[in-house]
């Protein structure tokens, strides 16, 4: 495990983010008050980008942990490693963020095991401290530190739900696909394509989103539209680009693929 200095997590260029409803302002205020934040919303609608922008505005390093179902407390807090015959303590990303006053962003928190999520509890209330059992030490977070978590409530699985004891510690933001005009603007800005083409992509996405629950698990996300836009910008014909980035990505079902092809070919 290579130890990356917290400074390397500082975001240098201003990330592009279109504010929809004062969410940046509210998040900054939460930060100033030492409150943790919770972002919820479907995949690819800008949660991570929002965090990058926030970190950039606050000029703090952003340490992102993508949670998975094997993520243990040790993976977050840290553990002893053997180096040259000696046991050496190694900070986990959460501990590192607390020590350096960075923003720690736990992406898709519900994917992590439930017992793992509990370690963030003392950090997420007014105590703002992180007990490290193995070191017998308790870290108190500096005012610069911020905890942010995200999850996608759309999975509708009992197992993938956030416990009330966890969620009731956070200032929550709901993210969704932006309204069409805004979304077209985002796609245009991010991929560099012309406005009319961006509008068409958004129209395609809207149609796939209305197929959610009638054959598709999720509609096309803004991220997919940007991917499609980038391919088109680089000279790939729109229909081919949409097939590669949107239809094939959304489903494996042959009939559904054919249906999505029909939609794409109608629009482009």
């Amino acid at each position: 495990m290579k130890n990356i200095a917290a400074e390397e997590h500082i975001i240098t260029g201003k990330p592009f983010y279109l504010e929809q409803a004062e969410e940046l302002h509210i998040a900054r205020t939460a930060y100033n008050n030492g409150l943790p934040i919770l972002l919820k919303g479907p995949t690819g609608c800008g949660k991570t980008r929002f965090m990058q922008r926030l970190a950039w505005e606050l000029a703090r390093p952003l340490i992102t942990v993508s949670c998975h179902d094997d993520l243990s407390t040790g993976d977050l807090v840290g553990r002893f490693l053997i180096k040259g015959g000696e046991a050496v303590w190694m900070d986990g990303p959460l501990t590192k963020a607390v020590r350096t006053g960075a923003i720690c962003y736990l992406d898709e928190i519900v994917e992590a095991r439930k017992d793992t999520t509990v370690v963030i509890h003392p950090l997420a209330d007014d105590r703002r401290e992180l007990p490290i059992e193995k070191l017998g030490e308790t870290l108190t977070a500096p005012p610069e530190f911020m905890l942010a978590i995200s999850y996608n409530p759309g999975y509708q699985s009992v197992l993938k739900d956030l416990k009330q004891s966890t969620r009731q510690r956070f200032v929550s933001f709901e993210f969704n696909y932006p309204p069409p005009e805004l979304e077209a603007g985002i796609v245009r800005e991010e991929s560099g394509i012309e406005q009319p083409l961006a509008e068409k992509l958004v129209r395609l996405a809207t149609m796939t989103r209305s197929l959610k629950d009638s054959g598709l698990q999720e509609g096309a996300s803004t991220r997919l539209l940007i991917h499609a836009g980038k391919l088109i910008k680089s000279g790939i014909p729109p229909r081919t680009a949409c097939k590669a980035t949107i239809t094939e990505t959304l489903t494996d079902d042959h009939e559904m693929l054919a249906a999505l092809e029909e939609i794409t070919s109608s629009i482009f």
Binding site: L211, R239, T264, S266, I267, F268
Partner: protein, 777 residues
Amino acid sequence: MIALDTRELKTRFAQAVLPDILNDWEIEEITEPLQDLPNAALHEIFRQITAIWPVSHALCNNFLQAVTQGLTCLHHSQLADWVKAILAAYESGGLHQARQLLERVEETFLCTIRGETGISLAEITGRLQPYATGLAGHPLELLPGPEIYTDTAAVYLPSRIAIFPKQTDNFLLYKLIISFQWAFTAIGTFSLHLPEGSPAITAATQKHRTVFSAESAGLNGFFNLFPEPSVAAHLFHLGETARATSFLHERLPGLMRESGPLFENLARTIPQDPHDSTGEMQRTILLHAAQGSGTGPSAATPFSRLFQGDATSQNSACFAAEAYDRFRDQGKESCPPLIFQGVLRPAEVLAVQRQKRAAAKEQFIEALAAIISAQPPQELPLEKEENEALGAEFPALEGQTAAIIPPEGAGKDLPDTKRQGEKTLEFITIDDSRIDLPDPLKKLAREIVEDLGQIPPQYISSAKQAAGKGVAQGSAPPPQEGEALAGAGLFIYDEWDYRRSGFRKNWCSLAAKKIIPVAGTFVGNTLEKYRGHLIRLKHQFEMMRNQERFVRRQKDGDEIDLDALIEALADIKAGLPPSEELFIRLARDKRNISALFLVDMSSSTEGWVNTAIKEALILLCESLEILGDTYGIYGFSGMRRTRSELFQIKDLTEPYSDEVKGRIAAIAPQEYTRMGPPIRHLTRLLAENDAKIRLLVTLSDGKPEDYDDYKGEYAIEDTRHALIEAKAQGVHPFCITIDKEAHSYLPHMYGEVNYICIDEVGKLPNRIPEIYRGLTS
């Protein structure tokens, strides 16, 4: 080509229809048409007879009558496919439908396999149904209908389109029709609202001396202002089609570009007749459709103005009113509407709207009532002032209830489409207490507001009443629709017929039954008898329960594995390469298993086998209770295809209670062993379960067999196929057979690795928990 002699023919036929025995003269009569056929064809025919005869004797007769004729245009290698089609037709529409295929081989069968009969609605639904839903943003059904039209909830289409020789063109036409029908809804054709004094109304009422009434604002009412409403409707529809064309050019340019040649094709079919203005207009539409918005007609005439982007349905109405006189005389004999245009059926649209409104109302009231009744009762001192305040703001309300819409969306005067979604109904105020709406209800409320402009106060007052009566709380959920077609507890299943490599549709019916538990000493005795064994079993199963365990010697983990570390240090000292696996990790593997046990209750289990099975089940349940896996037990038996019976002993969710023990004790031999239907049923039950590992364990003795023709190879093949279906659905089948010797058919029926044969009944109770342990660890 050697023809068989009559005697040989008859013998082979008699063999093919076994076990039925026919008289000699009957056979002679039936086989007569086959006399002169070559041997190869006959061989194939006899093979097919074995598939048809058990389904219907009459159909078989018909088949033999028709087969000589059929073979004049079919090669005998195509017979199997033909028979398959015939059987499918027979099972869906009876002898009558099957005869069509038998008698008109050329048109009904050969053309389809050559792909010459156009394309059917059924073929395109899979592709275009999601397309339609995607377009509309809500489910828009594609249904067969006598005419092409839409009622906004569905698009009615011809069941087959065979206008063009190429399939792709016919498909495109379907897609085009759907797009146009959707466009009519999207551009607001059906929401035409003409206020009194609007130009269209003035033109119509003045010319025809009719009187405006409240109804005249809508579609049908407007048409009725004219002496011949159909002509006005026809003109209005043309105008709307022009608008739809422009709309589709803007929205679906890809589709319109692809359909260009198709439009040109259609334009050529319209006769050139300068006196027929309808034809001219249709040609204008097609031309515009083919060439796109850039080359549209100039805005010189009232009709061509409709192609412009800002035209509304009011413009179409004006056009209809103005052009009416010119078309009145020739209108009747004018061209039929363009195919993608279909017809307008305002009455049906209205019916759908009403239905939707009623459904929304009912749903809303029910949901809101449930919320209200869940609210704690409150004393309301402020009621009066609050009511007055609200009453002032919402004069239409009854003074005590109000639906609050945040003002930012409500005040804006935006076009209809844009305003949608901006209004969000957040909460409802009733008697001063604010009730926040949960998300689904919010959505419903938004739909109602979109439709009616507000939540009508009577919706809320009805909800209050319903809540007061406690109606909402007590209402039971509607009965589940499943495959329980023929009444409660009866399930219909297909059966595999290996002779035709296809399913016999809806062949078996399976009745779900309950066993009445018996009280007795059986369970107690069994537990006593296997006391020692049970302790061992429980211990073994407890070991398997280990949901948390430390795994040593891992490359990474939470703790250092000291043993490994010391070893590694020693290795370093000794100059050996040390191991990198120095950590302990806590592994948590939760068992996530659902198992169903299917127990043979046929008459052959009478005696020892039955007792052994029951004992085995008791031991199994005791062990599984320790383990905590979800499991269910079902028994099966039955007689003939119409009466397969499945006895529920314990379902997946039921606890292992005294009642379940009593049911196990009550297992008794019944009738026959038809294995297909119960396996298919339990597979379905398991497929609905979301456990990671789904196990289906069958417990039987000997071959599957039923009173009818379910025996021998047929029964083995059906059982085998049912197990293959189970595997395809992610269920792991495992079969336990109690038999003195392992028969050679077992590997084929169950599949090499999926079965075990227990040769001695007495071993069964000990073996079954062990087998389960082996299967799941």
